[in-house]
């Protein structure tokens, strides 16, 4: 059985391993920037990696401000970096 899971980030298809967080799967794919900030439009990535800092928040299947470092990828999940 394959452990590969594909999901979408800003419309682009990515593949990660089962059990990986969204942030980990994207970083493994060389996609470090997860979002831009609201005011300065600065790129942000993972920071604390354990759900404390909320730097890595993304919109998952339409629900905003979800922590990419905590939530595991699932098949055909739609992740977006817009607020």
């Amino acid at each position: 059985m394959s452990n590969d899971i594909s999901f979408f980030f800003n419309g682009e298809k990515f593949t990660g391993t089962k059990g990986q967080s969204i942030a980990a799967a994207l970083i493994a794919n060389g996609q470090r920037e997860l979002r831009r900030t609201r005011f300065g439009e600065e790129p942000r990535s993972i920071f604390c990696g354990i759900g404390i800092c909320f730097d890595c928040v993304v919109t998952i299947d339409g629900v905003a401000n979800q922590r990419a470092c905590l939530i595991e990828i699932s098949s055909d999940m739609k992740v977006e970096s817009s607020l």
Partner: protein, 380 residues
Amino acid sequence: MKSPDAIVIGAGIVGASCALSLTNAGLNVLIIDRGSVSSGTTGAGEGNILVSDKEPGPELTLALRSRDLWFEMQEDVGDYFELEAKGGVVVARHDDSALLNLAYHQREHGVDARVVGQAELHNLEPYLHPEFHSGVFYPQDAQCQPMLAAAHLIRTVISRGGQFVSQAKVTEVLVKDSQVYGIQTSKGKFLAPVVVNATGTWAGEIARMAGSDLPIAPRRGFILVTEPAPQYIFHKVYDSDYVVNVASSDADLQTSTVVEGTRSGTILIGASRERVGFDGSKNIEILRKLAAQATSLFPVLRDVQLLRAYHGFRPYAPDHLPVVGEDAQVKGLWHSAGHEGAGIGLAPGSAALITDEILGRPSFMDASAFSPARFAMAKV
């Protein structure tokens, strides 16, 4: 240090407005606070400047004048405190007759209250639950960032020769022959023939130090703050129950919801009020009730996350009118307190009343309804 003409106790919005008004009238003012700027109820306020929730009467007259004075203060001080005439939308869930009746009477007293039907209501607030079919739009309702406002008013007072002493707890109000002449604080003695008590929920304590009495009690109000969200809410939106609630003296918890967005993107959900003394404990049931009411107004908020909740203690008098005027027993001691949840909105109007009375000049309204003497008379 030059001896001031007047001492204002309290560096919240009520005290800051008084200090600025007195300064602009030519007095040298000293502001005293036991903490720092905005460290009391002002720091827990939403920044409501409302005319929509006032019934015709002296408080509405004060609110209307106050609202205009807010914009005059902005001209005077500068655009530093996010003052915005965003407008209020009041909706009725079931029977709208009380709301429409109120709006009718408010209009007669100079309030811009526009009855809006289904289409216009949802045009004003596209995310409002479709079950609401009528409401009243109040373009005059406004909002500010009250902590920044207090800070900038005080900054202006200082730049015009006034002084501010923080972290000074008043321990004694100095009175001789029923005339105030200064205060003793943890940072020393300050003398002035005029002392303004703008200490909100603590106003009763200051009055007692002067040998007088003021029946001001705290009322707890919760505010829920959400994560930053897209703009779903364009005005201050509330259920007409809020108006009924504000005038209630029922000590049990009553909630009705005021929902609004802020410049930073967070959404504020407020207006639960209960009379509980200074008990700071949280109650999860209040949070649930406020959340349920907010999402019933705006279903889109169901997916928005609550980040924090805080409460402040709002000062109120038994008849729910502010206390603005000279003390009934002690000459030179002036009170501006007991504004309950409307302290931000009513602050500049109250300051104008106090200043006019201190200077013995005519004012924009008859302030006898706010007189501290009314409680003494009630006792007799």
